[in-house]
């Protein structure tokens, strides 16, 4: 049987089996937030969660990522590449939308002329054990971007919560191999599988947010200078929460941080956001994206126009984090709705 069953109380066993060879990441509650953390106690794992506050992209692409460390000795410079690049990771309990975001991230980091070896390496060494969303949130809209709450294609192993147990399915070769290793897993029954399918259907129906993204790139393309941008950026406070916590945002900055009083330091990559007013400030003082208007526009265009143009898919996974967390409640769904409307208006004009 391809599909196995993992009892809920067996998670500890699963953890103990894998933690020897892997860094075991799973959702945990830290303070008031669910985040993906490195597990030291399997009891901490929280699987009945909507989604983590900080997306698991943090594991591939940490907020503060050491590129290398250096020592300066007069004119001599010693550079030390970071170790631990080949450590193996498991991300346990990742949601389908976040798993999908890894595809998007890797599109970006591994394609093109220049590849990001560090992140590629991390991805290579990471196994995703995902879990379907039995109860998606009202702000979830993965179905609008051709995903669904039980989308398992982007995982290595996919779990479905069957109340007292999980249905376990190996998806990728990597996943299948891992399941083989976990020989103590019992086979799933047909009833289990059916129940999982049932849950999947239910979950898909539970996604209430439907936004029309079919033609979005085509609408956006000619409307770079449309006045709608002023409208949708009016209440934006320019904080960048939306992009910091977006699972697909990849902007970064590279800086050298020195250890005070010692002649050493490290070059680190830190997250940055295109919503920051300094982000595109030229040294000359000129800033092509000087106000919220251009910055909000860039974010939307990047996700829904440029990314599709470059990689053939939307740069959004529908996780709804930006909708949930925008301080000013500048709802992405509402923005998209407005964008869709501009085109209709245009058509109306043509017909009249």
């Amino acid at each position: 049987m391809e599909q196995k069953v993992l009892k809920k109380d067996q998670i500890v066993k699963l953890y103990n089996d894998l933690v020897k060879d892997y860094n075991f990441y799973a959702p945990i509650k830290e303070k008031r937030n669910i985040i993906f953390g490195k597990i030291t106690n399997p009891e901490d794992i929280v699987l009945n969660y909507y989604n983590s506050k900080v997306p698991p992209k943090e594991i591939l692409f940490p907020q503060t990522d050491i590129l290398f460390e250096y020592k300066i000795n007069g004119k001599e410079i010693e550079i030390e590449e970071p170790k631990k690049l080949d450590e193996k990771n498991i991300i346990f309990g990742i949601r389908p939308c976040d798993a999908h975001s890894f595809i998007l991230l890797m599109n970006f980091f591994s394609q093109g002329e220049f590849k990001d070896e560090i992140i590629m390496n991390r991805r290579e060494n990471t196994t995703l054990i995902g879990i379907g969303c039995n109860t998606p949130k009202s702000t979830c809209f993965c179905t609008s971007i051709e995903g669904n709450p039980f989308q398992k294609e982007d995982m290595d192993i996919f779990l479905v919560d069957l109340q007292d147990k999980y249905l376990v399915e190996g998806i990728s070769d990597k996943g299948k191999k891992l399941i083989k290793r976990l020989s103590w897993l019992t086979d799933a029954t047909n009833a289990d599988i059916e129940m999982a399918q049932e849950l999947g259907k239910k979950a898909e129906e539970a996604i209430v947010t439907k936004i029309d993204l079919k033609n979005i790139d085509k609408i956006l393309d000619p409307n770079f200078d449309h006045q709608i941008w002023k409208e949708v950026s009016e209440i934006c406070i320019g904080c960048g929460t939306c992009s910091f916590l977006c699972p697909t945002c990849t902007c970064f900055d590279v800086i050298d941080e020195n250890v005070p009083n010692e002649n050493r330091g490290r070059r680190v990559r830190i997250w940055d956001t295109c919503q920051s007013c300094l982000y595109t400030l030229h040294t000359s003082g000129h800033n092509p994206r000087n106000s919220c208007i251009e910055r909000v526009r860039n974010r939307i265009l990047h996700k829904f126009c440029y990314y599709p143009e470059n990689y053939g898919m939307l740069g959004c996974v529908g996780c709804g984090r930006c909708v949930q967390l925008c301080p000013a409640n500048n709802d992405l769904r509402a923005i998209i709705e407005k964008i869709n409307k501009i085109e209709q208006k245009k058509e109306e004009k043509v017909t009249v």
Binding site: K31, N33, K53, Q63, I235, I237, G238, L245, C292, P327
Partner: protein, 336 residues
């Protein structure tokens, strides 16, 4: 009157005044709140047409400090020629305070602003409710009597209103904007006298430095330095924030705790005597960090050291703008 009725009345007042102001061309736009797209939120809105006035709402979730939108850096409230529009702004107490303080700091011209003053009965703390509800989704939130009623998936819960307010709102004494001549069109406070014993701070103040350190560390260390607190703060209007300055780079940009707390420490330093206690920073923090403690102590420092409360008197200079021979200097070291 119970809270929901009060809110209904206020909402009606806002709409009526807004309609009147727009009709009579007293203002070009009205800055207010409208219904948020998800529960526990509200959405700031700029209204320039009379027919949109009914979009304006008022409830206990209007946490954004609208004064932020009037600060020069934000270009949306300007006309085509780049001149500032005349704005009617829906103001609870802390927004009024922010406006007054901003005018003290020469950032806005009160002449151009009509304050639609309303009494606020407190802003519900989203984080507390989320903590209470846990990992369950909320569909609807309403206030009834002294309670907050929360409806969600498999969920109907009643929570006492007073306990789920922002801590700042519990101690707030400026529920309506302090009145400034010819500006308020709704309810305003006449010459408010602030008396505050800061008894809520006693417990923290009695901690040892070590305990305080641990407490604050525990509070702040999840900070991702997204600066939402800064961006939403009506008093944070610098062209170039100290965290973004280079030459010199004052401190690191990483998420090491030393960098995080330096950011918050210096930000607090910059807010001293200026924080208007709106609590927007806490409301918007994506990581749920509640900065109430810092904000309260800023008010405490200003009040107890300099007998100053920000945003009350447009003529009074904030502590950092003035100096006095007679200031206390018990903290200065003396010989034994």
């Amino acid at each position: 009157m119970v809270i929901e009725d009060q809110n209904k009345d206020i909402e009606q007042l806002i709409r009526d005044l807004a309609r009147k102001l727009l009709k009579e061309k007293e203002v070009d736009v009205i800055l207010g709140y409208t219904k948020g797209t998800i529960p526990l939120t509200s959405l700031p809105i700029v209204i320039d047409k009379v027919e949109d006035v009914d979009k304006l709402i008022w409830n206990n979730l209007c946490y954004i400090n609208l004064a932020k939108y009037l600060v020069p850096r934000i270009p949306t409230l300007m006309n085509e020629e780049g001149q500032k529009l005349k704005v009617g702004i829906v103001s609870k107490g802390c927004i009024g305070r922010a406006l007054i303080h901003l005018s003290v700091e020469h950032q806005i011209d009160l002449e151009n602003i009509k304050i639609i003053g309303i009494p606020c009965n407190g802003i519900i703390n989203r984080k507390k409710i989320e903590d209470e509800i846990g990992e369950r989704e909320i569909f609807e939130i309403s206030v009834s009597g002294d309670n907050i009623i929360i409806k969600g998936e498999d969920l109907e819960q009643t929570l006492p209103f007073n306990e789920y307010l922002n801590d700042l709102c519990k101690t707030c004494q400026v529920k309506s904007p302090p009145s400034i001549e010819n500006i308020c069109v709704g309810e305003c406070l006449e010459n408010p006298v602030i008396e505050d014993d800061f008894s809520d701070m006693t417990e923290f103040d009695s901690k040892t430095p070590e305990e305080k350190w641990e407490y604050i560390k525990n509070l702040l260390d999840t900070c991702t330095r997204c600066y939402a607190c800064r961006e939403v703060c009506p008093m944070c209007y610098c062209n170039l924030c100290f965290v973004d300055q280079n030459q010199p780079v004052w401190f690191g940009k990483t998420t090491a705790y030393s960098d995080i707390f330096t950011f918050h420490l210096i930000r607090a330093m910059h807010m001293a005597g200026r924080c208007v206690g709106c609590g927007a920073c806490s409301s918007v923090c994506p990581m749920g960090i509640d900065l109430n403690l810092i904000n309260r102590s800023l008010e405490k420092i200003a009040k107890e050291r300099f007998n100053f409360t920000s945003g009350i008197d447009p003529e009074a200079l904030p502590p950092m703008m003035a100096f006095d021979m007679e200031d206390d200097q018990e903290f200065m070291m003396e010989e034994d």
